[in-house]
C-alpha cells in the first residue's frame, strides 16, 4: 500500500504521535491526581478505584479506535509453548533483577508499601489484588504494548518503539526510585509482545509480577 504525504513537514508523523501523547497525557493526569490525593487527601483506596476506572475508560476508548490492529494481538494460540517458556523465564529473570535492584534502592529511598492504604482503611486483600494485580496489567498492557507500541511502530523501527514505550511506562509511574526498574520491566513486556506477537503473555507476566509483590509484602508484614 502506498501512503501519500501532503508535505514533508512532519504533519503526518505528528498525527500519529499526537494520539500517543494524548493517551499518555490522560494517564499521567490520573496518576498525578492520585498522587495529589495521597499527599493532601486521606489516601483512601477509593481514589485508586476512581483512577483505575478512568484509565480503563480512556485506554478502552483508544484501543477500540484501532481494534483492527489490536484484535490479532489478543489471540492466545499464537503464543505457543515456546512463548510461555519465554514468559516463565522472564518472570524468573525479572525476579532476580528486582531483588538486586530493591536491595540497592532501600539504601536511598523509603520502602514502597503497596498495601498500607488498604490496611489503614480496612479493605480486604482481594480488593488489593484486583486493584494492583489484575486491572493495572490489563490496562497498561493494552495501553502501552497495545495502542502506544502499535502507533509508534508506524513512525519508527520496532526497537526504538520498544525503548520509547518502556520509557513512557516508567515515567508514568511518577516515582524516581522505580524509574529504572519499571523501564527494564517495560522493555521485557515489549520484547515479549514482539517475540510472541501477542499481548496475553505480557498481561500474564505483568499480573504475576504485581501479585508476587503484593503477596511478598503480605508475607513480610503479616
Amino acid at each position: 500500500m502506498t501512503r501519500r504525504y501532503r508535505a514533508a513537514d512532519g504533519s503526518e508523523s505528528w498525527l500519529v504521535l499526537r494520539g500517543v501523547l494524548v493517551l499518555f497525557g490522560l494517564l499521567l493526569l490520573s496518576n498525578v491526581a492520585l498522587a495529589t490525593w495521597s499527599v493532601y487527601g486521606d489516601a483512601s483506596p477509593w481514589a485508586e478505584v476512581a483512577m483505575v476506572v478512568f484509565d480503563a475508560v480512556v485506554v478502552g476508548g483508544f484501543a477500540l479506535a484501532i481494534r483492527g490492529s489490536l484484535a490479532p494481538l489478543l489471540q492466545v494460540r499464537t503464543v505457543g509453548v515456546r512463548g510461555w517458556a519465554w514468559t516463565g523465564g522472564l518472570f524468573a529473570a525479572l525476579y532476580l533483577f528486582m531483588w538486586g535492584y530493591m536491595a540497592l534502592a532501600v539504601l536511598m529511598f523509603d520502602e514502597i508499601r503497596m498495601l498500607a492504604d488498604y490496611r489503614e482503611h480496612g479493605w480486604p486483600l482481594w480488593s488489593a489484588l484486583v486493584l494492583i494485580a489484575i486491572t493495572p496489567p490489563l490496562i497498561e498492557e493494552l495501553g502501552f504494548r497495545g495502542y502506544i507500541f502499535d502507533r509508534l511502530t508506524r513512525i519508527m523501527p520496532a526497537r526504538d518503539a520498544n525503548i520509547l514505550q518502556a520509557a513512557l511506562f516508567s515515567i508514568l509511574h511518577c516515582s524516581v526510585p522505580i524509574l529504572p526498574s519499571h523501564f527494564v520491566m517495560g522493555l521485557a513486556f515489549g520484547w515479549l509482545r514482539l517475540r510472541t506477537k501477542s499481548l496475553i503473555p505480557g498481561i500474564v507476566l505483568h499480573a504475576a509480577w504485581n501479585a508476587a509483590v503484593v503477596l511478598e509484602e503480605l508475607a513480610r508484614d503479616g
Partner: protein, 172 residues
C-alpha cells in the same frame, strides 16, 4: 541578614565551581554542571549535617515533633541520612538520563525527544504536587526548555518525513 549571607555563600561557591571547571578546560555543558553542583550541593549537605547534629542531642527512642508529625528520633535520623543520598542521587540520576537521551537523539531524534519532553513535564508536575512552591521557581527557564523540546520534536518529525520523501519521491 542570614538569607543575604546564604545567598552570598551560594554565589561564592558558584564562582569557585566556575573557576574549577574552567581550570579543567571543560566545555560549556561541563562548566554549567560543575557550577550548579558546587553552588547548591554544598548548601544541601550543610543543611542535612545541621539536622543530623541537632538530632544527635536526642536519645534514639525519644519522640520529636516536626511540622505537626511525630517521629521516633532513630527513624528520623535514618530518613535524614537517606535524604542526604537522595539530594545527590536524584538530580545526578536524572541528569544521567537526560545525557543518555542526548546521545540517543543523535541516532533516533523522535523517540529521544519524545521521552525527554514527557520526562521533563512529569518531573515538574510531580514536584509541583509534592511542593507547590516549586512551580513558579525558574518558570521562564522551564518554559524555555519546554518550548525548545517541542520545537525540537517537531523538527525531528519534519526531518524524518523529508528523509522518507527523498528516499521515495512518489510519496510527496
Amino acid at each position: 541578614m542570614l538569607q543575604v549571607l546564604e545567598f552570598l555563600a551560594v554565589i561564592a561557591a558558584a564562582i569557585f565551581g566556575l573557576l574549577l571547571a574552567r581550570s579543567k578546560q571543560m566545555d560549556v555543558v561541563g562548566v554549567v554542571c560543575v557550577t550548579f553542583i558546587v553552588a547548591f550541593g554544598g548548601g544541601t549537605l550543610r543543611d542535612v549535617d545541621k539536622a543530623l547534629t541537632h538530632l544527635a542531642s536526642f536519645a534514639p527512642d525519644e519522640r520529636v515533633e516536626v511540622e505537626g508529625k511525630e517521629y521516633v528520633v532513630a527513624e528520623l535520623r535514618a530518613q535524614v541520612e537517606r535524604e542526604r543520598v537522595q539530594g545527590f542521587a536524584v538530580p545526578i540520576g536524572l541528569g544521567a538520563v537526560f545525557f543518555g537521551l542526548f546521545v540517543w537523539a543523535r541516532r533516533a531524534a523522535v523517540p529521544a525527544l519524545t521521552t525527554a519532553l514527557l520526562l521533563f513535564v512529569t518531573v515538574h508536575a510531580v514536584e509541583a504536587v509534592i511542593d507547590p512552591t516549586t512551580l513558579p521557581r525558574g518558570l521562564f527557564l522551564k518554559i524555555f526548555f519546554l518550548v525548545g523540546l517541542v520545537a525540537g520534536l517537531k523538527a525531528a518529525l519534519a526531518q524524518r518525513e523529508a528523509v522518507l520523501a527523498a528516499a521515495d519521491p512518489a510519496l510527496t
